[in-house]
Symmetry: C2
Subunit: 194 residues, 2 copies
């Protein structure tokens, strides 16, 4: 179960892990699983864990006044899930996170991060790197929203993350793109005829 995480850390940090560090990681990241549709986090709760997905898929979304879900993040194997804002500030989250497929993951608490993992250089490098990449990716996505049409945003998504289109149904993809499922359906129809 932890093998996937060790492999991930290896590819995303420079410093290798020692045997004892691997032990600490094994004890700090505890395995857990959710069945499809079960919640990892619900709006109003404080996000207790940040988790690494070993197998499966989750989605993070907010719900507006009218009850419509707006997907802010989709995550599959080798992605992290959790609401960083809520997790680091211990504030109630405005997001929901649930399993879209049966999902196996490894979770760690804030306490675990601060008191056990923070002394491991590879972990620090990893999260530093992760925050950076996340900030860059979100910046790009935001720029796409401000400057591109829905059609171009879809094309970009299909190019950047083709596996998403396989794993999630169209209405989920539409929500992720910030459009309705009907609009996405029409955009796709137009695209094939071009």
């Amino acid at each position: 179960m932890h093998e996937a995480l060790f492999k991930y850390i290896k590819t995303h940090s420079l410093t290798p892990l020692t045997e004892s560090e691997m032990e600490v990681i094994k004890n700090t990241f505890v395995p857990n699983k959710l069945r499809k549709r079960q919640y990892f986090l619900q709006e109003g709760e404080v996000c207790k864990y940040m988790a690494f997905i070993v197998k499966g898929a989750m989605r993070q979304y907010s719900v507006d006044d009218k009850g419509v879900e707006h997907i802010v993040q989709l995550s599959i194997e080798n992605w992290w899930v959790g609401d960083r804002e809520s997790h680091t500030n211990l504030t109630p989250s405005i997001y929901n996170i649930d399993a879209w497929e049966d999902t196996d993951f490894l979770q760690a608490t804030k306490d675990g991060f601060l008191n056990r993992l923070s002394s491991i250089p590879a972990i620090n490098e990893l999260f530093r790197n992760l925050d950076e990449r996340y900030a860059i990716a979100t910046q790009k996505r935001l720029n796409a929203h401000i400057s591109l049409t829905a059609e171009k945003r879809y094309a970009e998504l299909a190019k950047s993350y083709p596996e998403f289109l396989q794993r999630f149904p169209q209405h989920i993809i539409a929500s992720y793109l910030g459009i309705t499922k009907e609009t996405l359906s029409r955009i796709r129809k137009q695209m094939v005829s071009k």
Copy 2:
């Protein structure tokens, strides 16, 4: 000139700076200034510096096929500017950054960050913290784009960053919100009548 930066570091990190660290910072962050409309970074260039604004205002934007500018970031005193993606990966930037007012700032190269500043705990805490806050803020802004109307996004901006509305003209704010200046003008008209 460096006083503003020291003060900023003090409020955003736990570890205090030693005298010698302050010396290193003074030597690594070099003062520079731009007149209104001059470029800090142009599309296609690699972003050589990350900069801390001491006085003034800058904007970061991309330009689309039709020559329309799309503002992705506005920055004033005590904000950082630069394209992190380009700066860390040494890739050509897709953004332009220019001064909206005459601006004084302190700039440091990637080399300066890696070889001089990385041994200073306060700086590491600061940037870790900065990346985190940036990632969270961008996430929020993206969520606003996906789930809110233009009117609500404007109201949120007015509440979160009222100083922006004073410092930047409406067509800049409109672009930041991802709408045209005409639409923003009409939204504002509607809002006062409510």
